[in-house]
């Protein structure tokens, strides 16, 4: 059984703990007077972050979770405030003394909040000796905007512009996930043409993200030509996305109105990337020095991937067949096949991206269509809705509970929330020079993770 998410919903007299696995959803109730939850980290190590977040958000004590450090609440955050509780509705904080009990070691090095490896805010704690990394830890939630709380009490329409801005690079995936919830709540099914249009956008986004990751990986192995090559394609991709959706990242691309698409521009982009990529693959075949820099860097074993419940291409790089697209009828109809590699290192993650771009482009060719008919969603029924989608980072999970047509509880589990937890293991014992490469070879989004 694979752990997907673990989160809490507050009811009038009790807390409900929802644990989502791939084959079942478990719910348990705990009282609000002395809330204590038994940890599942022994069976599922990746539950650590979920449980630390639960403790910070709701003030629920976690039994048998040895990691007592706060995750969401950083320094200066008042320790007696549990912001996700319904009783807390302030929009500002009164500062108290720091609550940060992260042990700072003078021999360690804290990289951040901005560092050469990511252009976004997160902190990494690093211990190094003789150029070998002895310990590595990621400290997230610097970008915590409290989106879960922000959308509470809003209607599904009102929350949409917020949801599409959770993560700029996965905006299409987030919008589609949200649309799926809207469809479930209104009990409607999308027409095939519209669904195909959405597959097109999603695969387009995946392609751009993979091209970008490949560029940065090339940069970290000092392969400047490769960096320039992929960045050119990324820029072309964003320009084309801008032409066909009206936005370079696709904000607002998933709407239900009838609109035409600049099919020629999209076709030109597909043909360019296909052609350029074939040339590139042939070109780098003989450059063994490149592969030497990728092989055996940041190895993840199949056992680790299984126990941490890793998703996306990180899981597929150790031969696991985790890809939600294989379960989709339309994807199967167009002959989608899962890309897998076996080494679990940076070279596997490099190769898998190349093959996934090919399969995305093939799919995009199949589903490209210039026109779609308008579609109306209708009214929403109250209830609990779960949605899952395969983004370029991996499986993205969203949960919404609607009461009186307003959002009562919103929860998202970005793929990064699981995958970032493996960093400390796969970076340890590598050389300092490989740090940037390994970090970028694992697709992560701190904006999605921190929410």
């Amino acid at each position: 059984m694979r752990l997907i998410a673990r989160f809490v919903k507050e009811k009038e007299t009790y807390f409900e703990i929802i644990t989502v696995y791939d084959i079942k959803i478990a719910k348990e109730r705990i009282n609000k007077i002395t809330p204590v939850l038994v940890s599942i980290t022994k069976e599922y190590p990746a539950a650590t972050w979920f449980e630390r977040k639960i403790r910070d958000d709701f003030g629920i004590e976690i039994l048998y979770n040895n990691d007592k450090r706060p995750l969401v609440k950083h320094e200066h955050f008042p320790s007696d405030i549990f912001p996700m509780r319904k009783s807390f509705d302030n929009v500002s904080l009164e500062y108290t003394e720091g609550i940060n009990d992260i042990i700072e070691d003078k021999h360690g090095l804290v990289i951040g909040p901005i560092h050469p490896y990511h252009l976004e805010s997160s902190q990494f704690q690093l211990f190094e000796q003789n150029n070998d990394i002895l310990h590595f830890e990621s400290m997230p939630f610097f970008k915590y905007r409290a989106i879960e709380k922000m959308v509470e009490g809003l209607s599904l329409e009102e929350a949409k512009p917020i949801i599409e801005r959770i993560s700029g690079t996965s905006t299409i995936a987030y919008q589609l996930n949200y649309l799926d919830i809207q469809l479930q709540a209104s009990n409607r099914v999308l027409p095939k043409t519209l669904k195909e249009r959405h597959i097109f956008f999603l695969e387009f986004e995946n392609t751009i993200n993979h091209l970008y990751d490949l560029a940065i990986m090339c940069q970290f192995i000092d392969f400047v030509e490769g960096y320039s090559f992929f960045m050119k394609l990324v820029e072309e991709g964003r320009e084309t996305m801008g032409i066909i959706t009206g936005h370079r990242f696709g904000f607002g691309a998933i709407d239900m109105e009838c609109y035409t698409m600049e099919i020629k521009e999209a076709e030109r982009f597909i043909a360019t990337v296909e052609d350029e990529l074939l040339w590139f693959e042939k070109w780098i075949q003989k450059r063994t020095s490149l592969w030497k820099k990728l092989v055996q860097r940041g190895v993840i074993t199949k056992e680790e991937a299984l126990s941490f419940g890793l998703v996306g291409l990180v899981a597929r790089s150790v031969n696991l067949d985790i890809d939600l697209r294989t379960e989709d009828k339309l994807y199967r109809e167009y002959g989608f096949t899962i890309a897998q590699e076996g080494m679990g290192d940076s070279s596997s993650r490099f190769k898998i991206r190349l093959s996934e771009i090919h399969s995305s482009l093939k799919l995009m060719r199949c589903v490209i269509d210039s026109k779609v008919l308008p579609f109306f969603i209708g009214t929403y029924q109250d209830g609990e809705y779960y949605s899952y989608i395969e983004s370029s980072l991996g499986e993205l999970m969203m949960y919404v509970e609607l009461i009186d047509s307003k959002i009562e509880r919103f929860f998202v589990r970005d793929p990064s929330f699981l995958n970032a937890q493996i960093l400390s293991r796969c970076i340890k014992n590598n050389e300092m020079e490989s740090l940037g490469l390994i970090l970028k070879s694992i697709p992560l989004s701190f904006s999605g993770n921190d929410l």
């Binding site: 950083h74 320094e75 200066h76 955050f77 405030i81 912001p83 807390f88 302030n90 929009v91 500002s92 904080l93 909040p113 901005i114 560092h115 050469p116 252009l119 976004e120 805010s121 939630f141 610097f142 970008k143 915590y144 905007r145 409290a146 989106i147 709380k149 922000m150 512009p161 917020i162 801005r165 959770i166 993560s167 700029g168 690079t169 905006t171 970008y212 030509e225 490769g226 320039s228 090559f229 960045m231 050119k232 990324v234 820029e235 964003r238 801008g242 370079r248 990242f249 904000f251 350029e276 040339w279 590139f280 070109w283 989004s445 701190f446 904006s447 921190d450």
Partner: protein
């Protein structure tokens, strides 16, 4: 003729530069001139993301790719704010980034130049107020120039950068 075709097949595509249009070339010329006058041909920038969705960072990063190629003009990203002449802030100002933002701003050398990229620092993006967001950046720090957009595209950033340099 044969050699021409051969050249085309064998050409190293990775070394080919995208074609820069008239506007980019014009912006480049003017920017280079301003950087030369005001920053002795070297403008070091520090980018601080105080809680963005990453779109603004990627558009900033696009400036350093072959099409926009602004390192050629003497612009360089530094990872130590003490070396920087210009601080660029993106994203909403989160509670968790606020202390680091103060620290970064204080470490910036005089004269302190701060510009914002995107609608988020100005609290104009569709996000609502929460306990985790510190409100408009302008109510905490002096902003010298604002480049708006959600996100502004690389050309807008170049235009904004030029306007800022011409203003100071």
């Amino acid at each position: 003729m044969v050699s021409l075709i051969k050249n085309k097949i064998n050409r190293n595509r990775a070394l080919e530069k995208p074609i820069q249009d008239g506007e980019i070339l014009r912006l480049h010329r003017l920017l280079k001139q301003e950087i030369k006058i005001r920053f002795k041909s070297k403008l070091k920038i520090y980018i601080l993301d105080t809680g963005s969705c990453n779109a603004c960072e990627l558009e900033l990063q696009a400036l350093f790719t072959p099409l926009y190629d602004i390192q050629k003009l003497g612009v360089e990203v530094v990872y130590d704010v003490r070396e920087a002449e210009l601080l660029i802030i993106t994203g909403v100002l989160t509670e968790n980034m606020y202390p680091l933002c103060i620290e970064t701003y204080h470490a910036l050398k005089e004269p302190k130049y701060l510009i914002t990229v995107g609608d988020c620092p100005l609290a104009q993006a569709p996000f609502r107020d929460t306990f985790a967001i510190k409100g408009q950046l302008g109510s905490h720090f002096f902003i010298n120039f604002k480049i708006t957009g959600c996100p502004p595209n690389p050309r807008d950033i170049l235009r904004g950068l030029l306007k800022f340099l011409q203003k100071i």
